[in-house]
């Protein structure tokens, strides 16, 4: 039941991001793209290679996270409402996991690298749980991660260049030790539910 739900959610991510990408670029996939794997309905390919800078200023890649499960959330530190809520969920999951916490790396990936510099993201994740890894990077690196995770992040256009808002994907991804997607949690999933799902994988 849980898997069905997760796949449905994942499907919506794929559809949502595709539509958003089409709207943003105005490009309908051309014939030249048809040879590529693209998006397979029912078995979304989420995850994959990426490089970034962690909250300690170290260059990291997806390889550094393999061997442990990953709990991934996309957001930005300037977000006062949704992102702290999800980070609190992460913090509670890590506490509730007890000894099993060692098998998961909670990861907060910024979709606002311009403002979320290494010290800013470090301070933010530390406010919630010492085990949370914050990832930032160049625009290209962040674009690559968003693409790999079919995640959406778009700065809201407005006159405020300093305190702008960013729309972003609200899902939490649970990735396996091999870096492949296990399931997707919708926003508002309780820490208890996430903890249970993680424990089932151990």
């Amino acid at each position: 039941m849980n898997k069905v739900f997760a796949y449905t959610v994942a499907l919506f991510v794929v559809i949502g991001v595709t539509v958003a990408a089409l709207v943003l670029t105005g490009i309908i996939p051309s014939a030249s793209n048809s040879g590529r794997s693209g998006i397979i309905v029912g078995a979304p390919q989420i995850g994959g290679e990426f490089t970034a800078t962690n909250n300690k200023g170290k260059a990291v890649s997806d390889k550094d996270f393999q061997g442990k499960m990953m709990l991934v959330f996309f957001g930005y530190t300037f977000c006062p409402d949704v992102c702290p809520t999800e980070m609190q969920t992460f913090s509670q999951v890590m506490s509730e996991l007890g000894d099993d916490a060692a098998s998961v790396t909670p990861v907060f990936i910024t979709i606002d690298p311009a403002r979320d510099t290494v010290p800013v993201i470090d301070e933010f994740v530390q406010a919630f749980h010492p085990s949370i890894v914050g990832l930032t990077g160049t625009n290209d690196q962040i674009d690559q991660i968003k693409k790999a995770y079919r995640a959406y992040g778009q700065q809201v256009e407005g006159d405020d260049s300093e305190y702008y808002l960013v729309d972003h994907t609200s899902f939490t991804y649970l990735m396996g030790t091999d870096g492949k997607l296990i399931t997707v949690f919708s926003y508002g999933t309780t820490p208890e539910e996430i903890t249970k799902t993680i424990k089932e994988q151990i």
Binding site: V9, F12, V13, I15, G16, V19, A20, T77, F78, C79, P80, D81, V82, P84, T85, M87, Q88, S91, Q92, P119, V120, E123, F124, A127, F128, Y152, V156, D160, E162, Y163, L165, D167, H168, T169, S170, F171, S186, Y187, G188, T190, P191
Partner: protein
């Protein structure tokens, strides 16, 4: 000797003034005002370098007339606005509330995470846990009402704190 007397008078006078302002400030908090009552104003602690923050207030319209929350003011930030969070197709969008929030007569509107919040943009001072600061809400009919915001944990959920929901049995 005369100087000493003047100085002591000034000291006593300033002390009295200060204590009076303190008392009046406390009395002002959560005060009922033209039928609108502001309750449980709280915010999440933000990091020392944070430039934005949010706060939540419960608005109770105890009058017989509908009213509308049309704005907010604070001294902690350069800009204070009423925002809301909406989820569309899995994408979280935060935006300023346009046209205000209606608070019907006899009803309550509870701002909470994932919904309505007061947004502070360009923080002038850090919002640290345990701190309190004033915020003023502006209503169409009731006018301006001030309340005191209490800063909780960085991930506090208000009255629904998961941490406080631990079963005792």
């Amino acid at each position: 000797m005369k100087i000493l007397k003047i100085v002591s008078t000034i000291v006593v006078a300033s002390f009295l003034t200060l204590s009076f302002s303190a008392v009046s400030a406390v009395a002002h908090a959560d005060e009922k005002h033209d039928g609108i009552e502001l309750k449980d104003a709280w915010a999440r602690a933000r990091t020392a370098s944070a430039k934005v923050g949010g706060a939540y207030v419960t608005v109770h319209n105890m009058s017989k007339e509908d009213d509308r929350l049309i704005g907010a003011k604070s001294t902690v930030a350069h800009k204070t606005e009423i925002h809301t969070t909406k989820m569309t197709d899995g994408v979280m969008k935060m935006m300023p509330v346009t046209g205000g929030i209606e608070v019907k007569a006899g009803k309550m509107v509870m701002m909470k995470p994932g919904s309505y919040h007061i947004m502070f943009m360009g923080l002038k001072e850090p919002i640290t846990k345990g701190k309190t600061f004033p915020v003023t809400l502006v209503f169409e009919k009731a006018g301006e009402i001030e309340t005191t915001v209490t800063v909780k944990d960085a991930g506090a959920m208000g009255g629904m704190d998961h941490g406080k929901m631990k079963k005792t049995n």
